[in-house]
Amino acid sequence: MSNRVFHAVAGTISVLWLLPIVAVLVTAVRSFDDIAANGLASFPQSFTFAGFADAWTNGGAGAMWNSVVVTVPTVFLSLALASAAAYALSRFAIPGRRSIILLMLAGNLLPPQILLVPVSKLTELLGIYDTLFALVVVQVGFGLGFYTFVLQGFMRAMPNEVQEAATIDGAGPVQILWRIVLPMTRPALAALAALAFTWIFNDLLWAITVLRSSSVMPVTPALLALQGQYVSNWNVIAAGSVIAAIPTVAVFLRFQRHFISGLAVGAVK
């Protein structure tokens, strides 16, 4: 394919792909009156951040904070527990290690629907229903299998010599994990952290399964509530979607390489 044809084809598709995003950005900075008077498809006659202000002050700020409170501990706990399990399962002769790894992965592949009713009841029973703590533990539990599986594959590929040398020098298994194995696993951890961040930040299903009050809702479910609250205030709804997309887009832009390799590693195992 010649260069000119290639750029014409790929360029057209890219522009088409980005068009919805541009449309939403434009809608987000228009005023309500402008949209009401001239229609969504009209050429913008206004420029204002009022939509952003409305979305942010009417629950946006609180929801963003809830998302931080859920996402950061969930990513950290998931990767900490998964690293420990992956280390033991990949570097030591744990009895039944292959079955354990596959069992853990199998748990992650289950359709979440089979878990919703029991998990919701379980959180009620434990008295943590409608708390962010419930959302954190549920998501840690559900994600663990996948993270452990990816990390143990990565750790198995490490040469034995380093570990043997450290053992001879008198380092215990915990020290070896902390000083040698984890630093060598950094690329995989970064990739998984970027992926996990987006998954957890974007989650809707678990949030609406274990949470009810609007005051504890993270950004993704709060966006649904915003839609109900601002019916046909398209500038506010558009601004809300832009705000909700900023954190994950930022993580993607900052960790682009890790992110892409994470997706590839995640699937092409």
């Binding site: 399990a85 030591f92 089979i114 974007n202 966006l223 979607s241 994950t248 887009v249 699937a267 092409v268």
Partner: protein
Amino acid sequence: MTRSSTRVPPILLLFVLVPLAVEGFWVFWPALQGFWLALTNWDGVSPPRFVGLDNYARMIDDPVFHTAVTNTAIWLVLFGGLSAVSGLGMAVLLQKERRGVGVYRAALFVPVVFSLVATSLIWQVLYQPGGIFDSSPLADPDTALYAVLVPALWRQVGYVMVLYLAGLKGIDPGLYEAATLDGATGWQKFRHITWPQLGSVNSVVLSVIVIDSLRSFDVVWSMTRGGPYHSSELLSTYMYSTAFQSLKLGYASALAVVIFVLAFGVIVTYLVRAFREN
């Protein structure tokens, strides 16, 4: 591969047992309960009442269940099929490193990082009457399912493209050079080199697609809640509303078991592949 240590230090058992216990408590134990609850009638308040296979028998006469199954099948074919074909097409188009290719790849990939709720709101803005459409395609039972499908595809194509790009990278460029010397056309190269070499990626994409299709919930829930008149209902949305809005927890659990059964074959294939490589 020889293990560096035959005696396992006790702390390492803890390293395995704690995560296993967390997953066991929040995944395996609830899953078992789910299968059990599917055999009961339960409103969530009074104790569950055992009814055997009644919930499954009820599905036979439930028109909404029939719609949900049909729609899930349509979803699997269209969402899965179109995202696989377009993802592969875009990967092949953008496979060669050349100037500007990074920008094109990024353009297709950006929607992947959006939540499905944000995606659905973006498209709801586009669907508003007075814009491209005279009346919203989400409000018409004949078009609602497809109007929901487009945003889902918009977000999935970039993801599948990344999977295929990773697969294409693994193909020996020498094969293409040899084929060029032999005078092969672009299509012949694709047919005889690219496609056979993508075998393992194809099976991965197939599993990802089936699992993702059966899990699809967010985009339908945020755009239509399965309506109007259940016209865009999927098994996943029907299960959720049956459980948490109609409070028929037993029937909802049985619907979840149906989803599990449909996903089972793919899950096992996936695990078998993981097992072989482990």
